[in-house]
């Protein structure tokens, strides 16, 4: 059901439209990181669709860089910046994420496609074939893993941390958005390390609902917190 990938791309493109149309006053660094994370996700989905048609070396590299390494980290940084907007350490982390992303781009550029291209299958998701297909060196692999883990941990732990601090923990409506964020993060993370390359309904659903859950969670979380005057740490 590759059409679900196109639907995911349409939804991510629509999320980008929503983000871009935000009034200038609401364009905080957190929202900017979210917007760029969505751009990375859309690049990932476009390249996935291209690779579903034919093998293209640039598309493989772009996928590895944008979707395979950066998207989660940028979403995670967006959340951290929302939670701690004035924290100088978080701002340094933002710079580190930007520098890491650019550095990784240079590393991915010099990576070569291996002989595995001969048995590349357009019918299978790129995720499971990426390991054999792209000859990444150690700094590239570790850079990618670090950024992904950073994003996953931030997205899973951040909302829980804030919920723990909030007084109205019994209000169930508080739990929805953090759960969506954590679920979305896991859904974006797990397919990256798929060992099986057989496409399944579960794979397509994860690819579709991962971005939806993450965006819905992040947007609702920020709105809800703003509406209820949720305590944001402003150290």
């Amino acid at each position: 059901m590759p059409y679900l990938l196109l639907l995911a791309l349409v939804l991510v493109a629509a999320f980008i439209c929503v983000q871009i149309s935000l009034p200038v006053g609401k364009r905080s660094p957190s929202q900017t990181f979210l917007l760029i994370g969505l751009f990375f996700l859309s690049i990932g989905l476009v390249t996935e669709l291209v690779l579903g048609f034919a093998l293209d070396e640039r598309a493989v590299r772009l996928f590895y860089w944008a979707r395979g390494s950066l998207a989660l980290a940028w979403f995670g940084q967006s959340l951290l910046l929302f939670l701690f907007p004035n924290n100088p350490r978080i701002r340094w982390l933002s710079i580190a994420v930007v520098v890491g992303s650019i550095g990784l781009f240079a590393l991915v550029l010099i990576s070569r496609v291996t002989a595995a291209q001969d048995w590349y299958s357009t019918a299978k998701p790129i995720h499971g074939q990426m390991g054999d297909l792209l000859a990444t060196n150690r700094p590239t692999r570790w850079g990618s893993i670090t950024l992904n883990l950073y994003g996953l941990i931030t997205l899973a732990a951040g909302p829980v941390y804030l919920l723990f601090l909030q007084p109205s923990k019994r209000d169930l409506s508080h739990w929805g958005p953090p759960l969506l964020i954590a679920l979305g993060a896991i859904m974006l993370y797990v397919p990256l390390y798929l060992t099986s390359s057989a496409p399944s309904l579960g794979f397509y659903l994860v690819e579709l609902f991962g971005p939806v859950a993450l965006f819905a969670g992040l947007k609702n979380f920020t709105w809800h917190s703003l509406r209820t005057g949720g305590k944001r740490k402003t150290r």
Partner: protein, 466 residues
């Protein structure tokens, strides 16, 4: 007011996709005929003022289409395909029929452009406006739709009338159901246009009329709501009664002309051949209802379908004309498990193909890349139904939560469309045991379209409060 850059971007998208539409497929005017084309030509030669025009063996709108376009020299079929018999010819300019093919091509392109513009107009977010135009035209100009414009059948005519009807409905619904937009001369114009296109669409293919039942049910629900509690944002009671009666009349007239035409009899015999005769208990059921299953009928039981022999059995024809439809409906009700199972398996078949089967496309023009993108827009998976259901529910939930009356009215329209398409799918699957893919196209295409149409509307609602 739409910003200039948005207009420029939309124009750029339209120009690019129009270029693809005009260069990637058979040139407009080139066509392929089928055995049905002869029947359309014959239907078009019946006087419009005679009752036979509406009760001929082909739908009246198609007859009218061929009548209006027939040149003085008449039509001549020079390229004919019949996939069932493995007869394939290349599409060609057919004398006289090139006018039908040109009309089909131009009206189809215009209909999709109209829908794209109307959807963009209904959205507030500039980025989503551009995205919506891209999606609507990407869908409408893909091989699954564009290739049909070269096939001389009722499907392409029904399709572009549906697209025009949908565009007018999207423009009209918020005008009718919101207080902020009181009826004005534009609303009246759209109402008249909607009525005309509805009639043309209903008479373009026989299953189309069943969508009206869902619309009528919705109007009756509105009437009950008005009666119990005055809701000022709804049209007044007289308007609702008038609309309900008008649409009911349209449905009944269509049904009456369909029954008189006898064009349901061949599909009925196909059903008897494939769904009844192989099963002794079902044969017994029909015999108990008086169906004369004589030795002559029994001798035809191995026919693959579209069997002319049944029409020669006078006794059988007399019974079928008088009791055929009602008995088949009773049969479906008497075997509910089979009826549902057949529907579900039919849905899988209905979604299994997305291209016309009458000619092989020229791969130099319709490149594999275009076919790949077309397959993405027209999925061959029945999961589309669930996706549309979820999208409609999310849209309704957001519209109700935000209290946006314009969006609520569009949600009601999309809901009616969804349930109407499912009903049409049911009727198409049980209406004829043969040609399920082609017969269900009128309901499968709108369901596939809804997959891409709803996300911009949903995100536009999200965008309003962000």
């Amino acid at each position: 007011m739409t910003k200039l850059w948005v207009v420029i971007a939309i124009v750029a998208v339209v120009v690019f996709l129009l270029f693809v539409r005009l260069t990637a497929y058979e040139p407009i005017g080139v066509s392929i005929s089928t055995y049905d084309t002869n029947a359309f030509i014959a239907a078009g030669r019946i006087s419009f003022l005679s009752p036979e025009f509406f009760t001929s063996d082909r739908p009246a709108t198609i007859g009218l289409f061929y009548k209006l376009l027939e040149p003085g020299t008449g039509y001549r079929i020079t390229a004919l395909s019949s996939p069932a018999e493995d007869i394939y010819q290349a599409p060609a300019i057919q004398p006289g029929l090139e006018r039908v093919a040109i009309a089909q091509g131009l009206l189809s392109i215009s209909a999709w452009l109209l829908l794209a513009v109307v959807v963009a107009r209904r959205l507030a977010n500039p980025g989503l406006q551009i995205l919506a135009v891209l999606l609507v035209l990407g869908f409408g100009f893909s091989p699954a739709i564009a290739e049909w414009d070269s096939v001389l059948l009722s499907e392409p005519v029904s399709l572009f009338f549906f697209v025009i009807l949908l565009a007018i409905s999207i423009e009209l619904m918020p005008r009718l159901l919101t207080r902020s937009q009181r009826p004005n001369s534009w609303t009246s114009t759209f109402l008249v246009l909607w009525s005309i296109v509805s009639v043309l669409w209903v008479f373009a293919r026989d299953t189309n009329a069943y969508l009206l039942l869902i619309v009528i049910a919705g109007l009756i629900a509105f009437l009950i709501m008005q009666w119990r509690r005055k809701i000022t944002s709804l049209p007044n009671t007289q308007a609702l009664v008038f609309a309900s009666l008008g649409l009911t009349l349209l449905f009944l007239v269509h049904n009456f002309t369909l029954q008189q035409s006898g064009r349901w009899i061949n599909p009925f015999f196909n059903n008897i051949l494939h769904n009844v005769l192989p099963f002794p208990d079902r044969v017994a059921f029909f015999e108990s209802k008086g169906m004369p299953i004589t030795d002559e009928v029994w001798a035809l039981r191995n026919s693959p379908g579209n069997e002319d022999g049944f029409f020669q059995i006078r006794e059988l024809m007399a019974w079928t004309t008088a009791h055929g439809t009602s008995t088949y409906v009773r049969f479906l009700l008497a075997y509910p498990g089979w009826t549902l199972a057949k529907f579900f398996s039919g849905v899988e078949v209905a979604f299994s193909e997305n291209r016309q089967p009458f000619f092989f496309p020229n791969e130099d023009r319709t490149t594999p890349a275009i076919q790949y993108v077309g397959d993405l827009f027209h999925p061959r998976s029945s999961s589309v139904i669930w996706v549309v259901l979820i999208e409609t529910a999310v849209y309704g939930w957001l519209a109700l939560r935000k209290g946006q009356k314009g969006s609520i009215s569009l949600f009601l329209m999309f809901s009616a469309l969804f349930f109407g398409e499912i009903l049409m799918l049911f009727i198409s699957i049980h209406g004829d045991a043969l040609g399920i893919v082609r017969h269900t196209m009128g309901s499968v295409m709108p369901l596939r379209l809804s997959v891409w149409l709803l996300p911009p509307f949903i995100l536009d609602l999200v965008s309003i409060t962000s």
